[in-house]
């Protein structure tokens, strides 16, 4: 009466096309009809996982595997699920069992590679993914992951070459085009981005991310008109993308918002993370040195620093430049890639993947020193975040901020001076008077302030300001 093979085939089809609510009744029907329990368990767990009920999914798989420990589909599903749940060890064990069960299974090898990458064994991961690619060369995702591994190993050229070859092999694959442009952007290869993006446009398959990368590359290359055109196209394809909206605002296509959206900051710093330290050292990034001086002065006043909050900690350059504190350093950043590198320094007691403005509202601890080295350039209106940070300062504590300074060309009697301005790179510049006003509004005063060249490379010279703010005595 019931066509079980057809129901099964449609259930799998719906799962593949992410139609969980269509698949669920079919899986339940198969279950009620007494269909093969291992197949039902696999489908059930997949659906549970897709609906975010990962722990239940894992239990379901574990239970099924007890009766059939070598079931390949279940092993690979557990490996995938474990990766999603951040349990790389379990993922590696499950995928390895899958490889043992079926050495020529490309997915098993790929999953093992991904797990090993998470466990920090990039070279081994590369071996697994290379094998997966040789077993199933028609899968663009394997090529993309190999490029990711090269990036993780610092092999920028290899990553770009891998993706270039993959794009040539799979010219219709949007995801590869996007990955190739994004990777070249992360490598700082702006002419390469333009070349790849232009090829994608000519082929008629450029998506929003390709146009966005193209716009950012044009910005870096100083081609502002072309950057604006690229951002406008990106916005057409992804009209609700907050990062693209921000980039459009940065070239004057939209009204500038009060702050950069967190997604934009995250993407920006994820893109920079791979070569951030390298460039910082090469271009003589001066803030760590200034900061160390400030901490020494702080200690000289007879009060050693107990704890430190590093908002926008990035790769941990500041923490690496300071000694340990009794209660340690807490780092906050929106970029997971940056945080990954900060974790490797071992300098932080805590690291939070979070928006700085949100953290100072949420966390009620007090800090002797709070530093915001590259946070304010992503806020136009800085009043709220300064207020939040001020509330978190312990008595006698200090807030160290760096910002890009806006030098107004307006004649004072003809035009009201601007407080802040959104620049073409998506960062904000702030007028000196505005920092003073916002600080005062937050109950802070500027203890010392120095104008200098902080930023790495580019065309920025002598336009940054570091200020040390303390509470206004009541």
């Amino acid at each position: 009466m019931y066509d079980e093979p057809h129901i099964l085939s449609k259930a799998r089809e719906f799962i593949r096309s992410n139609r969980a609510s269509a698949a669920r009744p079919l899986v339940d029907a198969l279950d009620q009809l007494g269909f093969d329990p291992l197949v039902v368990a696999e489908l059930d767990a997949t659906l549970l996982s897709k609906s975010g009920r990962r722990a239940e999914a894992k239990l379901r798989i574990d239970e099924a595997l007890r009766s059939a420990p070598a079931d390949l589909a279940l092993l690979l599903l557990r490996a995938e699920l474990s990766l999603d749940m951040g349990d790389a060890n379990c993922a590696a064990a499950s995928a390895a069992a899958g490889v043992v069960a079926s050495p020529a299974n490309a997915r098993a090898n790929a999953l093992l590679g991904l797990a090993l990458l998470r466990l920090g064994h990039a070279a081994d991961a590369l071996v697994c993914l290379t094998k997966a690619r040789s077993l199933d060369p028609a899968k663009p995702a394997f090529h993309q992951t190999i490029a990711e591994i090269h990036m993780a190993m610092g092999g920028f050229a290899e990553a770009q070459a891998t993706l270039a070859a993959a794009v040539a092999r799979f010219p219709e694959a949007h995801s590869l085009r996007a990955a190739a442009t994004e990777t070249s952007l992360r490598c700082g290869n702006y002419p390469g981005v333009v070349e790849l993006a232009s090829a994608a446009c000519a082929a008629g398959i450029a998506g929003a991310s390709v146009f966005s990368a193209l716009g950012r590359a044009h910005t870096r290359l100083g081609r502002n008109g072309q950057a604006a055109e690229a951002f406008a196209e990106a916005l057409k394809l992804a009209p609700c993308d907050a990062s693209i909206q921000h980039l459009c605002a940065s070239v004057g296509l939209r009204t500038a918002p009060d702050r950069a959206p967190p997604a934009f900051v995250e993407t920006t710093f994820d893109t920079l993370a791979d070569r951030y330290d390298q460039e910082a050292i090469a271009t003589g990034y001066r803030l760590p040195e200034l900061f160390r001086t400030h901490l020494r002065d702080f200690a000289d006043r007879g009060r050693p620093v107990q704890n430190l909050l590093d908002l926008g900690c990035g790769t941990g350059l500041l923490a690496a430049a300071t000694g340990p504190f009794d209660q340690g350093i807490t780092g906050i950043d929106l970029s997971a890639r940056m945080l990954g590198r900060a974790a490797k320094t071992g300098a932080y007691a805590e690291l939070w993947h979070e928006d700085a403005a949100g953290f100072v509202l949420r966390d009620e601890r007090q800090w002797d020193v709070i530093v915001m080295s590259d946070v304010l350039p992503y806020f136009g209106d800085i009043a709220a975040i300064l207020q939040g940070a001020a509330r978190r300062l312990s008595p006698g504590g200090s807030l160290v901020v760096a910002l890009d300074e806006l030098v107004s060309n307006a004649e004072p009697d003809r035009m009201a001076p601007r407080s802040w301005h959104l620049e073409r790179d998506g960062r904000y510049r702030h007028a000196g008077f505005y920092l003073s006003m916002a600080a005062a509004h937050a109950g802070l005063q500027i203890g010392s302030s120095e104008r200098l060249d902080l930023r790495m490379g580019r065309d920025r010279t002598g336009d940054s300001r570091v200020a040390i703010l303390t509470r206004i005595a009541s």
Partner: protein
């Protein structure tokens, strides 16, 4: 027809033969009654009734002859007499289940709802296990808006008849009316989790999700139900309906075909499939289906209108107009035939502006105008205005390509955009509309009056119709006066609407030049440049070199749909081809994917003396590929009287100019507007002779064509046609002008 109104006729048991316990009855009497019933079924109603009356007289304690008599009257629609007889029957047997139901049904039909409820409550008390009684009680309570009581009654009915699909679906409707849809949904979710094979409940769950506007989930559930129980018709039907709402027409056609296989006698399903085939641009298949239905069902209005649409789309404009006109004769007071006439007339050779205006007025007159006075809002002339965009086509569609860039560049501090009528989908242009809209109201109520009330409740200042009388066009709602200022813009904007409630008509000086204003019932809201702003796609290929340079001959082209290619157009193009003997003509439209249609067009050209080898017909293709095919065209020959709108813009973007023949009607001047807007007024002709002469002359100037083509994209890009900020400034002024005019008229 709603489920509730159907209920009255099918809730009653149709007893084929007398089956009441007969222990105390004379078998002769029973035989006579059965014979009378058979006579009634055979159409001998009068004789049957006489016999039933005689039997009732013969045995005054016997209820059944009286009940049969009542049923006979009810079958004939004589509710008054049927009611009397049911009462007689109940005098003889106060517990008679079917008489109680019959009486209640007649009471409901004559509008005596309270009496029906009383009868049914009595029936339910006497026959607690009767699902039909509880079901009809649900209907009776629903009729008096006692929604909670109705839901309770359906709940009892469903408990007694869990496999009755109709009761389950009526309970869904009742739950929505009672405001307990969420509770009902939870109940259905839990019940279907507990019994995954219960198709009635699974279908009810899908239907409820659909009613709640959760269409994707509804489709998922209904599709699952169809897969589990492929022999059940209701899931397939409901699935087709849900898919239609979100324009997933191919899937809808499959679902409907499955339902038709299960219910082959329901001609309406086949009509619905024909409508889907029209939407899928499978006009030839649609035509066959409709003609077959007309042959078996007669000339029904809907069928004639659908036939008109199919014929016009197949290039048989005169036949299309004839079918539409026939529909107006069958139902002169209905709106649908008249709007179909407009949609056929716009393509018909020789159509005049006056004829279009008259047709528009006639269609508008068939709408309900009884209504609502103009709405007056806060008459601040400079305040931020709430502007409604009324259309089912706020997506990748000519409406999107020609209006979106303008809307995107309106100042959001001056105008707030409210989108009405387009289902939420992943369509890229729909997402862009979504991004600029402060509100999105996907599906108006199917009932026009309620839909209009919903729109009025949005407190709009201006309502812009962007759908016209096209398929699922919503313009008719404007007849209810949904906003104080109502404007017609792109979207089947083929000429004046003729509707008194539409105040303004967006145009430009080329679309409606001096002298043609009189043929518009609306006031004209002229924009400073063209009346639209074209937003070219980022994936458009680069402009290819002039093909004549490599071919050594000219290739004329036209990528407009077949509806626009009339016999007069074919004759004109044939003359041009005779005068330019080495030239070719490349026609491309989705209809040519059908060999029958392509063959008919080839035949038409051959009849005009043009060899088949000189005419290339290409079917539909993805948009980028279509644009690339302009690389094979030297210049476009525009059809007439319905000229190319978006098609002209696309050709220009691909470096291909269009030679047009402008007429009187709005749609006969689209290409003229776009060409003027990009500075190519010399490509506009005004009569057939000069159109032919100009085509011949241009054909001899290959190098001039090449030079024009080389710079055309940048020329178009820099022209007002693509200058969205400039266009938006003009549009903004126009909206403000219309609003201030409204303010002035209400403050003076």
């Amino acid at each position: 027809m709603t489920r509730q109104s159907r209920n009255v006729s099918f809730a009653l048991r149709n007893i084929e033969c007398f089956d009441t316990p007969t222990a105390a009855r004379d078998s002769t009497l029973m035989s006579r009654l059965n014979l009378a019933i058979e006579r009634q079924k055979a159409g001998h109603v009068h004789e049957a009734r006489l016999e039933m009356q005689a039997l009732a007289q013969a045995d005054k304690g016997w209820d059944e002859p009286v009940f049969r008599l009542a049923d006979s009257h009810r079958a004939e629609g004589d509710d008054s007499r049927a009611g009397e007889r049911y009462r007689d029957c109940l005098m003889r047997n106060p517990r008679h289940h079917d008489a109680l139901l019959g009486l209640a049904a007649t009471q409901l039909r004559i509008g005596n709802i309270l009496a029906a409820q009383t009868t049914l409550l009595r029936c339910c008390r006497l026959h607690r296990a009767s699902s039909a009684a509880w079901d009809l009680l649900g209907l009776a309570f629903g009729s008096s808006q006692d929604c909670a009581e109705a839901e309770r009654a359906y709940s009892r009915a469903q408990a007694l008849a869990p496999q009755d699909m109709a009761i389950a679906l009526r309970r869904v409707d009742a739950a929505i009316a009672a405001g307990t849809a969420d509770t009902e949904l939870i109940r259905l979710e839990q019940a279907t989790e507990a019994d995954a094979l219960d198709i009635v409940l699974l279908t009810a769950r899908g239907v409820l999700l659909d009613r709640l506007g959760r269409r994707d989930e509804a489709i998922d559930i209904l599709e699952a139900a169809s897969i589990i129980a492929p022999a059940a018709s209701q899931p397939a039907l409901e699935l087709a309906n849900a898919l239609l709402h979100v324009d997933r027409n191919k899937e809808a056609e499959r679902a409907l075909t499955a339902a038709i296989a299960l219910l082959p006698d329901q001609w309406l399903l086949r009509n619905n499939r024909a409508v889907i085939l029209l939407r899928l641009l499978r006009y030839h298949d649609a035509r066959r289906e409709i003609e077959d239905l007309i042959a078996t069902q007669g000339e029904r209005v809907g069928l004639l209108c659908n036939l008109a649409t199919a014929l016009t789309a197949l290039g048989e404009q005169d036949a299309g107009l004839a079918a539409a006109t026939r529909a107006t004769e069958v139902a002169p007071d209905q709106h649908l035939p008249w709007r179909t006439v407009i949609n056929s007339l716009a393509y018909t050779p020789g159509v005049t502006a006056q004829a279009m205006l008259d047709a528009g007025r006639r269609a508008a007159a068939a709408l309900r105008h009884e209504g609502k006075a103009p709405l007056v809002r806060d008459l601040d002339r400079n305040r931020r205005l709430r502007i409604g965009l009324l259309s089912t086509q706020l997506k990748t569609h000519p409406v999107g390509w020609l209006t979106l860039a303008g809307f995107e560049h309106l100042d959001p501090r001056a105008f707030e955009l409210i989108c009405i009528g387009t289902p939420e989908t992943g369509d890229p242009m729909s997402k862009r509309f979504r991004a600029i809209a402060s509100e999105w109201h996907p599906t108006p109520d199917p009932d026009p009056e309620r839909a209009a009330a919903e729109i009025r409740d949005l407190n709009l200042d201006i309502l812009i119709d962007l759908s016209g009388y096209g398929d699922r066009g919503l313009m008719a709602l404007c007849a209810f006066r949904c906003a104080p200022v109502q404007i017609k813009w792109v979207g089947m904007q083929n000429h004046s609407t003729g509707m008194p409630e539409i105040d303004w008509f967006i145009a430009d000086r080329w679309e409606v030049p001096v002298g043609l204003e009189a043929y518009y019932s609306e006031r004209l809201l002229h924009l400073p440049d063209g009346y639209v702003c074209y937003s070219p796609p980022s994936y458009a290929p680069t402009v290819a070199p002039l093909p004549a340079l490599r071919n050594g001959f000219v290739t004329f082209g036209c990528f407009n749909n077949l509806s626009k290619i009339t016999p007069a157009v074919i004759a004109t193009w044939s003359e041009i081809l005779r005068r330019v003997p080495d030239a070719r003509l490349l026609l491309k439209t989705h209809q040519f994917g059908d060999p029958f249609t392509a063959g008919a067009l080839h035949q038409a050209f051959e009849s005009a003396g043009i060899a088949r080898s000189r005419i290339e017909l290409r079917g539909g293709s993805p948009h980028r590929a279509l644009l690339a095919e302009y690389g094979d065209v030297d210049f476009v020959l525009d059809p007439f009287p319905y000229t190319g709108g978006l098609t002209t813009c696309e050709a220009l973007w691909m470096g291909v100019p269009t030679l047009t023949l402008a007429g009187e009607t709005f749609s006969s001047r689209h290409a003229a507007s776009h060409l003027s807007n990009v500075g190519l007024p010399d490509w506009i002709t005004t009569d057939r002779a000069s159109y032919c002469d100009e085509a011949v002359r241009r054909s001899s100037g290959i190098h001039a064509l090449a030079a024009l083509r080389n710079g055309l994209r940048s020329r178009v890009k820099d022209s007002p046609l693509c200058d969205a900020p400039r266009f938006a400034a003009g549009l903004s002024d126009a909206f403000r002008r219309a609003w201030r005019d409204h303010c002035s008229s209400h403050t003076s």
